[in-house]
Every structure is written in structure tokens, then in C-alpha cells.
């Protein structure tokens, strides 16, 4: 298989993360796309390809992404695509597209206004429509089953989960885009009632409206436009069985496959931004990725501080890129996920320096 053409992030923008925005999804995207292209020092006109990630059920409307095209500035008409997946996968499609070699610059974006929907109502609908959706089991309930399996296997404790939440919220105090942040006492957190046993409120992510956009470019163009491009050194995603009952919920083999395909093991990473929206997912993912114990996880606060569904994964990539461009790191990792109990996982390895 041919080597991967070097492609780099050259600009990105993350919206403020809020419980409920008064903006439309197109308005949120307008701001982050403008922010990302300005960050890259270009205009929309220089963008050859755009790819959006969003979800009709989160928006509560069929064809919801069609209105978002107004934010892209698709005039003259643009090469453009849309995935009903997190913006991290939109970036994956853009990354594939640039490897064809005929165009140089792409914008990928993710957006979601979860405030318009009741998660407990819509998430059962992403399950098998015949056998699982009728149970009405929502994402938090499936997460609770996985947390219980991990506790029973001795892989995590409720105290460790509370410690993950306290650390994420503490780290988020340095993130102006975070929605939940501050100092929390673990014993106080553990005194709370369960939302879905063994998950307490702090084990769950907030409900967030937000968006993110990134600009990626082929190597020559990236070097021309940017003094410090952040190179995509590996990018892969894999899926697992849909039925949680047919999986070992104490492992995440698709994460391990994605990490291997992305070349994670070739060199250590200095920071990992994981889409661990539930506290127990963090130790599970750290193990599946084979991360060293001293690798900081989610210094931005991660999804426990802000969880703009359909953009959460792309925000991880933007945060991992920021670690390189603005904080002197050389090699970082971003992860995204979709589906019940981490059914589908994506790994993106980023590197600084020249290529």
C-alpha cells in the first residue's frame, strides 16, 4: 500500500460550548468556518473541498445539513460532502479526498445542537430497530452497563471514576470553551445519587451545543500557507458488533485496531484527547490504546467538560493539534467514537515539525 501523502492541519476553530445556544446550527458553523479559515490565513474561496458531520436526529429535522451549506459559502459551487457522523469522520473523508492529489485545501466541520432534543428520547433510536430500540434503552443506560462490567472485572472503581470527573473539571478551568469546570471534592461527588447505577451525574457529560471546523492541506500547500503545520501522521477507524450483549464490554478492540493502523505504537505520544464522554471510558480507552500511565488525558477537560455531539470528536483533534502548535508538544493523539458502548472508534495521530 502506498505511503500516506503528508497532509496537515493548518487552522481550526472551536465554538463556545453552551447548554443552549440561541444560534442556528448554520450560524454556529458560519463562525467556526470563518474562524478556521482566518486561522489558516486563507478565505473560503481557497477551499477546494468541504465535508460536514451532523445528525438529523440531533437537529430534529430531515436534511438538516442542507441549511448548513449557507455557512460553507458554496458559491461558486463547491466540491462538498456530508457524513451522518462526528466531524472527525468528516475530516477523515476530507483527508482521503486530498490524497487523490488534484486539490490542496479542505475544510471539515462538525456541529450539533443537542439542546433541541431529549437524549433519552432520541438515542434509543440509534439501536437495532427490532430488538433493541423497543427497550427504550438510552446511551446513558448502555454506558452504565459497560461501567458495571468494568467494575465487576476489577478494571475501575466508582472512586476512580469520580477522580476522572474531578480532574477533567479541574483541567477545564483553563479552557475558555468549557461548559463545566471547577474544583470538586471526590467524596462529595461520590455522595450523590446514581443517575443510572453505577453512574452518577459527574460520570455523564453535559448536554452541549457547539461546533468545530478545521482546515487541512496537502504538504506543499500547508508549508506555503503555514509556518507550523500540524501533520496527520496516522488516521484510522474501525467498528465492532452493534449488539452490546455480544461484545466483551471490558475491552475496546476497535480502538486497538485503529491505534495500530494509525501507527500509534511507533512512538510515544505526549498528550491524548479522548472522546470519553463517560468517566469509565477513559481507563478503558487508555488500556486499549496502550498509553503510558504518565500521558496526560484530556487536558482540555474533554467531553466531560463540553460534549457537542457530532463535533465532540473533531474538537478532540483541534485540541490535540493545539497542544502541538501552541504548547510545544511534538506528537499527540485524538480519539473519537460513535454508537453504544464505544461501538466505533477513530484514532488520529498528529505530529509537529517538518515533513
Amino acid at each position: 500500500m502506498p505511503d500516506i501523502d503528508p497532509i496537515a492541519l493548518i487552522g481550526w476553530s472551536v465554538s463556545p460550548m453552551v447548554r443552549s445556544t440561541d444560534k442556528t446550527e448554520a450560524q454556529m458553523l458560519l463562525e467556526v468556518i470563518t474562524g478556521a479559515v482566518e486561522n489558516a490565513g486563507i478565505t473560503r474561496r481557497e477551499v477546494d473541498f468541504t465535508c460536514a458531520g451532523s445528525c438529523d436526529y440531533v437537529a430534529g429535522q430531515a436534511f438538516s445539513f442542507v441549511q448548513n451549506i449557507d455557512a460553507i459559502g458554496a458559491w461558486p459551487p463547491k466540491r462538498d460532502s456530508h457524513v451522518e457522523m462526528d466531524g472527525a469522520w468528516a475530516m477523515y473523508e476530507a483527508w482521503l479526498r486530498l490524497q487523490l492529489g488534484d486539490i490542496d485545501v479542505a475544510v471539515a466541520m462538525g456541529s450539533g445542537r443537542s439542546s433541541t432534543a431529549d437524549p433519552a428520547l432520541i438515542y434509543p433510536m440509534e439501536m437495532d430497530p427490532y430488538y433493541l430500540a423497543p427497550l427504550g434503552t438510552d446511551a446513558a443506560s448502555f454506558a452504565a452497563l459497560q461501567a458495571r462490567a468494568l467494575i465487576d472485572a476489577g478494571k475501575v472503581t466508582e472512586r476512580q471514576m469520580a477522580e476522572v470527573a474531578a480532574r477533567a473539571r479541574r483541567d477545564a478551568t483553563g479552557n475558555p470553551n468549557a461548559q463545566v469546570s471547577g474544583d470538586f471534592d471526590v467524596d462529595t461527588l461520590l455522595a450523590e445519587d446514581y443517575v443510572r447505577s453505577p453512574l452518577r451525574r459527574h460520570d455523564l457529560p453535559p448536554i452541549t451545543d457547539g461546533a468545530c471546523a478545521v482546515v487541512i492541506a496537502r504538504a506543499d500547500k500547508a508549508r506555503e500557507l503555514c509556518d507550523n503545520p500540524v501533520w496527520i501522521s496516522g488516521f484510522a477507524h474501525y467498528s465492532e458488533l452493534h449488539y452490546p450483549g455480544m461484545r466483551d464490554l471490558t475491552a475496546s478492540p476497535s480502538t486497538t485496531l485503529a491505534a495500530k493502523a494509525a501507527g500509534l505504537e511507533e512512538a510515544p505520544v505526549e498528550v491524548a484527547e479522548l472522546q470519553s464522554a463517560f468517566t469509565h471510558e477513559e481507563p478503558l480507552l487508555v488500556e486499549a490504546l496502550g498509553l503510558a500511565p504518565d500521558v496526560p488525558v484530556n487536558p482540555s477537560g474533554g467531553p466531560l467538560a463540553a460534549n457537542p455531539i457530532m463535533a465532540t470528536g473533531l474538537v478532540r483533534i483541534a485540541e490535540a493539534a493545539t497542544e502541538i502548535r501552541d504548547r510545544g508538544r511534538q506528537r499527540t493523539l485524538a480519539h473519537s467514537t460513535s454508537g453504544p458502548c464505544l461501538q466505533q472508534n477513530l484514532v488520529c495521530v498528529l505530529e509537529g515539525g517538518s515533513k
Partner: protein, 389 residues
Amino acid sequence: MSHQPCAIVGIGQTHHKKARRDVSYAGLAREAAVRALDDANMTWSDIDAVVVGKAPDLFEGVMKPELYLTDALGATGKPMFRVHTAGSVGGTTGIVAAHHVESGRHQRVLAVALEKQSEGNAQFALGSGRGASIGAGGAFAPYMRLYMKRTGAPDDIGPMVAVKDRQNALKNPYAHLKLADISLDTVKASPMMWDPVRFLESCPSSDGACAVVFTDEDGGKAAAADGRPPAWILGSAVRSEPSSFPGRDPVRPQGAVDCAADVFAQAGITDPLGQIDCAELYVPFSWYEPMWLEAHDIAGPTEGWKMVERGDTALDGSFPVNMSGGVLSSNPIGASGLLRFADAALQVRGMAGEHQVDGADVALAQAYGASAQYFSMWVVASSLDPFAG
């Protein structure tokens, strides 16, 4: 062409019907996928990655169904990707799957596009459950009237397309509508739905799926050596533009013009009518056949309807269009685009059966979506260099 060549070596589709109550949602997807794998002489384990496309999840009431379809499509332990670009999605699904190969990332990729419209109510879903949807026909009718006014097309052109496509469908074993007694009179006697579109000039609502197996150059050559002709992708393109703004021309959208120009340039086509042997175009309402022939610069202004009137676009005409019966005969919305792309590939593989165009070496496929603002097209051929010599 700077990227890796990509070949189509397997195609499968379901028998499209108003309601496929004999199969589940996943069963429908699998039926098409198994046929494509059989055609490619492959098994599930040969596939490196799966790309799923469909129109709004509200049509079946299953959110992000690629998660649920992972099990049925053998995608466990593989990349599973999901595309949604409105009505053009089937075409875009094929193009994104081809990009998986053309980028050099994967060798054998399965694309599956589907819609099981009987699981829900498309009209209700188009209005997002709030009702008051005018439907696609109502949205497109003003564009068709404008085309008629602009080009002076006679009223019978639409009905002629409707008759031609339904007669073609009689030769396609997978087509949904089989209207053996269709004629200009029966079409014109059918109820007016959205002036100028009558009931028999409109697409049905179908359950159906389409699957395509893509491989790299080695895979395509191996299939050819094994006596299983591949279709080679000479070019593919997508374009999007905003729904509505002053100065937008919905009859000849700039996106449609640009998309065709892009794909023709990639394929080395300077004379579409001369170099392309046949086309599968997304025609959900009769008038869109002449409209797309002109908007994609296959035919000049007013020449689109004249081609229809002369019978050029008939199965035995000089430029056959929608040999399969098209969207007017089968319309599982999310699959309709990939069906166009796959049927074009069947033609250049010489495997279209009763609706085969003799000697088809180069075929065009197109799909469009939303307010005639999303476009996807590809040109496929029986060899990588069909214009040599």
C-alpha cells in the same frame, strides 16, 4: 490522473418493491451486498472497508443505522463509513467508496446504499413530523414549468419520458414498477399532481438497496483475466450550492454545469454525445431528463427535449438514457443514486441483460439532491483508456 485507478468488480441490487415485508431493514441491505459479493467472486472477509449511504434517517426512524447495519454487512473489525448528501447520496456513496481505493488506503471496498421507505412515511419525514411538506414534486414543479417556458418544449415531452422509462423497466428484473400497458394516453389521463407533473410522470416510493464492490487496479485486472469484466472509473465529481438566493438558476444550476464539466475533463470527454454511449440520470419526475441533458451540457439549449422527441434517449436511440427504467421505475431514495451509478457500470461490463445497450464502452451516471443543489456524477468505461486509437 494522479490517483490510483479504481475498478468496479461486483454489483448487486434487490428486487425493488413498494414494501419488502419479507426482509428486515438489515436483510434488505444484505440481500444487495451478498449479490455484489457473489458477482465479485468474493466473500465478506475479502472486504477491507464498508461505506453506507442513505437519505434521512427519519425515513425509517433509525438514527445512524450504519451502527446497526455493521453486523449484517460484515463490517465488524473494519472501517464503517456513513454518507448522507440528500438525494445525491447514493452517487456520493459510490464516489466516497471509490476514494477509499483511489487514495491508496484500501484495496477492496463495499458500498451499500439503501432505503426501506415502507418502514415510515417519507412525506411525513420530509416535513420532519411537522406536516405541511409540499413534497419533492411540489418543490420541483416550478423549475419544470420554467424549463418548459424557457425552451418552448411541447407538453408531451414529459409523458414521453415517462412512457420510455417504464417500458425500459419491463426489461429490468429488479425494477419496482412494471406498467405493461403504459402509453402516452394513460400517462396523460393520470391525475395531475403538481402541474406539469402527473401521477404517472412521478417516481414511486420503494424499498430497495444497491451494493457495489470496488477494487484497485490489480483487482480489476485480475477480474478481467478471470472473465469477469470490470468497469473502470474514468472520473467522478461532486458539487453543492446553496438552496436559494437571488440569481440562482434552478433549471440550470451552476453546480450541475460545473460537476459535469469536472467529470468530463477527468474522463477526457470533449464531445459527450459522441463519446458517451449511454447515461443513467436521476430523473424522479419526467421533465428532469431533458433538463439534465441540457444543464450538464450533454445537449445544447432546447436540444434536450428535442432528443426526447426524436427518440434519441430510447433504449435503441443514439444516446439511451435510463435503460434500467430509472428513478421513475424504482425509487428507494437513498439507493437511487447508487443504482444509477451501478446500472451505468453494468452497461460497460456488458451485464445489463435485456436492457443492455449494444457495445456500450463508456457510460455516464448522475444523481442530484435537495433543492436540485447537490450533484454527484461519474463516468465509467470498459477499459482505462477507451478513447485510445
